[in-house]
Symmetry: C2
Subunit: 299 residues, 2 copies
């Protein structure tokens, strides 16, 4: 599919793309730009035939396809360097979790001759680092591609993601950021907040409560173990949508508090019952495993 | 261990106890009191040697051990009936998720000659009904037993739970209700609230967002698919603790909102980073599987 691919930032997502690219024989040569020496030695174990770059320089001019997989807060710095060396024939994409901020970056900072089509594969995990990468991470998962007037480039990007197993949806950047503020960014923020509250509770009451976390807390702790740099970037980049969904959430929580305080039986039961429908839909849409308890075995 | 055991209410928890009792040969005869005909036919498939009772009557007088496994809102009605027929030699326990309310019920309504020692096995699932029961549901899980002056009965109850695999902790009822308001009840309420918010968002924006739930929402939807009667009972029974933890949670969420709004980088990073410690502890304490993503396979 390509002669030369360059992956910039090779953690969980970058190394999963790397593994999939090797598996599907998508590129003759694979280039990696990764700052962490510790990560580089882990990546070398994946495949001995990789080419490591130290920085963005003239070596990137012949690359056909570049994928940005660093935290979003590093994109600007990288884009400014790519401006000097990338060829107009190179296709550039990214895997960032918010898009309006990146569209702004593209419009303001990217050399007008270069082609950046934005992608967001909906896959990830609470673990970070190339050792956790998985060639099947994108298999049967949605990948959102942001609409662009360069239809040829859109088609090429779609082909790439499909090749490594993704299902494609096209969206505008503002629609993307709105939807994922609710399905991804708010759930992560809420999980972080619940764990913070449990930590405060533990400190205040001087009790070891974590040992009893199997009652529900443990599920949230997984989500709240996600990479803090990535999520800081997401929350800051999607500020206005975040504030809106936090306010919706808080309003509903106040409602539930009132239902509990005044023993409003019917109102409470209706809400608790209704949420089952979402689980059913999620399983039908193959967004989660159907087995109770995520198929988690006794520990 | 016993000649005759009676399980009252045979859904997920009752039928898991039933399966464990059969597996460990804990009782010569097993009696079941279950209202739902649909459930009865499912329970008959577990074992053909069970004795079904229609109601609490003179037949319960010879039972050695009774376990209440109905929703807590049915306990009072059952206790009033047991008062008329149960023998002072019978040991009574329950599996309710809150305890101060049950202690009150015991003090106010239980015949003084009868022995009720309270238990709370920390195990469950989002699914309901006897078909989902599992003899290993309690294995290596905590079972909280509420302190009582009847030490002989405490010992007997402990032996029972240990026999089916539980690890025992003794607590006072108020300590129990406080701890579990944070580790279990609040996480469930928050999951319900997040799903309710996602449903409102979907309605307001006329978008199918559920199909993109793999970004985080799906984990919450599992918890929020739990039985609504059970959880209504829990929330109402633990009202004052619930209100306190909701207020702690809301205060922290307002803090995070402020961190996001004003791009308070260091404060936000500190919170997001700190929560990793809890995940680490949970895994060390064997409260969850250590595999990323709960060991969930690609769907």
């Amino acid at each position: 599919m390509f002669n030369k691919i360059l992956i910039i930032g090779c953690g969980l997502i970058g190394s999963s793309i790397l593994r999939a690219v090797i598996d599907k024989k998508i590129s003759k040569k694979i280039y990696i730009l990764e700052k962490s020496k510790k990560n580089i030695s882990k990546i070398k174990k994946i495949n001995s035939n990789l080419n490591f770059l130290n920085k963005v320089d003239k070596n990137v001019s012949g690359i056909n396809f570049v994928i940005l997989c660093t935290p979003m807060s590093e994109y600007e710095k990288i884009i400014l360097k790519l401006n000097n060396f990338l060829s107009p024939h190179t296709l550039l994409t990214d895997v960032g979790s918010t898009k309006k901020n990146l569209l702004k970056l593209k419009n303001k900072k990217l050399n007008k001759k270069l082609n950046w089509i934005m992608s967001h594969p909906i896959s990830g995990s609470e673990v970070s680092g190339p050792e956790y990468g998985n060639k099947n991470l994108f298999k049967k998962k949605w990948c959102i591609i942001i609409e662009d007037k360069n239809k040829k480039a859109l088609l090429k990007i779609s082909k790439f993601w499909k090749k490594i197993g993704s299902k494609i949806v096209f969206m505008q950047s503002d629609e993307h950021d709105k939807i994922f503020s609710m399905t991804s960014h708010l759930p992560h923020l809420i999980a972080y907040n619940l764990i913070k509250t449990a930590q405060d509770f533990q400190k205040k009451n001087k009790k070891n409560i974590i040992k009893f976390s199997a009652g529900g807390l443990r599920d949230f702790s997984r989500t709240a173990a996600s990479n803090e740099i990535m999520w800081r970037d997401v929350f800051f980049s999607n500020k206005s949508n975040m504030i809106k969904v936090i306010e919706m959430f808080t309003k509903n929580l106040n409602g539930l508090k009132k239902n509990i305080k005044f023993s409003e039986d019917k109102k409470l039961i209706k809400i608790l019952k209704n949420s089952k429908k979402v689980r059913k839909q999620i399983i039908e849409l193959k967004q989660d495993v159907s087995k109770p308890d995520f198929g988690r075995k006794n520990i």
